[in-house]
Symmetry: C2
Subunit: 267 residues, 2 copies
């Protein structure tokens, strides 16, 4: 049982809340039962250490048993130690140090089905938005999320929390410049659909057959003109009332679900 | 120019961040240019006082001019005074004290079109979720939002902020017990559709013709069984990937946009 909140090991886990430390170590922290459960279930090879309080170990025997069955290190810690490790106010007794093993872009593209649905995030800055888009992409059955290099770090505690485990459910490629992303998708024959309020085509009228990628921009200022122009089509979610816009996560979810529905009808 | 952050007037505005004060006074605070602009534009009779810093008055002449044209009180304040009034970290130089003039349920129902789209929120507790649902309802062209009495106060600063002005765009009825809401809707011939993961009907297969209301539950535990059973149909947003669920705002937006699309095809 780890009992000292000021121990070096505790400090080194807590340091993973800093982007520079995550970059240097290639590790990040999954906080809370949902995130730890999905990490253990979907990517056990990437889980380095599981930390659990005695109370959480009793409540979440499924997670602890699954971790032990996969021969992962499971460490009992006091609630004070866990609180000192975590960024979350209420980590609910569980956290896991994970390696970041997102695939590289070429490998991820090579694994796509012929009717792939891809979500590309460019210059997304809000952690909650980024995480919610990844969760929505997972729910819509998207095959890949690609996050451009000028975006929020998807391994940051807030993004990881707001994905609610989806970070481990589908491949997420990060840190690629947006021109490289668009070129690589195009080279694979994947149509590029810009989601943007300036689009002439309304979402319900869009042709969503075949492999395509939704290219989503920044929360506040949308897509950069050069990115929009590099896409094959610009598509707009209709606004029926007086709202000026939808937020990024809602727009992305509507687009990705429209794709899912088109694919479902086709298959 | 108001310059004293400790003046009684400043304190009484700041007190509106407390639910008890909002209930007693019937007033609440709109913070930031977007909220103030929409309040002045869509509900000038409900705006009691506009507070603006000199810098914001220069930047947002449209808002200040519109407020003065409607003979509203516009008070210049220092940035320190505005900060002392507001709950937001960055109110961006503008705030307005507004009266709450949501219609009562019967009046709101009487004003609905024959193919009305209604959104009912029960036991919703997270302010960001509630506000984002109202924004999504606005964008989808919904005709009415009804919030049950056991929910977050939609006049709280966080909800108001996350509606990004939509609070003034469509009628929002609050503080009605859920059985009363369901009875009143039913008496008007409005079909009740529970949005719930237990539904047998998938959203793309749902019949969304004619007047109907989406009944949405709590973020964590969904709809209470008695509410679900009181509805005419239980409808589920399909989950194609490994995600356990969507968040409330995403699920509500998908349902309301499906309704909007059905109405658009019918009209």
């Amino acid at each position: 049982m780890l009992t000292n909140p000021r121990a070096d090991r505790v400090k080194s886990v807590r340091a993973l809340s800093r982007r520079s430390v995550r970059s240097r170590t290639g590790e990040f922290l999954a906080e809370g039962p949902q995130a730890v459960r999905e990490a253990v279930r979907f990517a056990p090879d990437d889980v380095r250490d599981v930390y659990v309080t005695p109370e959480a170990a009793e409540r979440h025997t499924d997670i602890v048993d699954a971790a032990r069955a996969r021969r992962l290190w499971v460490h009992e810690v006091t609630p004070e130690v866990l609180a000192a490790m975590c960024d979350a106010d209420h980590p609910q007794g569980l956290a896991a140090v994970c390696r970041w093993a997102g695939p590289d872009l070429d490998a991820a593209l090579a694994a796509l089905p012929p009717d792939a649905i891809v979500c590309v995030l460019t210059n997304v800055r809000d952690p909650g938005n980024a995480g919610t888009v990844i969760r929505g992409a997972d729910a819509a059955g998207a095959d890949l999320v690609v996050v451009s290099d000028a975006s929020v770090d998807v391994r940051s505690p807030k993004v990881v929390r707001s994905t609610v485990g989806s970070l481990w459910h589908l491949p997420v490629v990060t840190d690629v410049p947006i021109p490289t992303i668009l070129e690589a998708l195009r080279a694979r024959g994947i149509r590029l659909l810009a989601a943007d309020g300036s689009g002439q085509t309304l979402l319900p009228d869009a042709d969503l057959q075949g492999a395509h990628a939704w290219v989503m921009g920044n929360e506040a200022w949308g897509l950069a003109p050069e990115v929009r122009e590099a896409c094959d089509e610009v598509i707009r979610v209709p606004i029926h009332g007086h709202a000026e816009s939808l937020n990024l996560a809602m727009a992305a979810t509507l687009c990705l679900y429209a794709s899912a529905e088109a694919r479902h009808r086709q298959r």
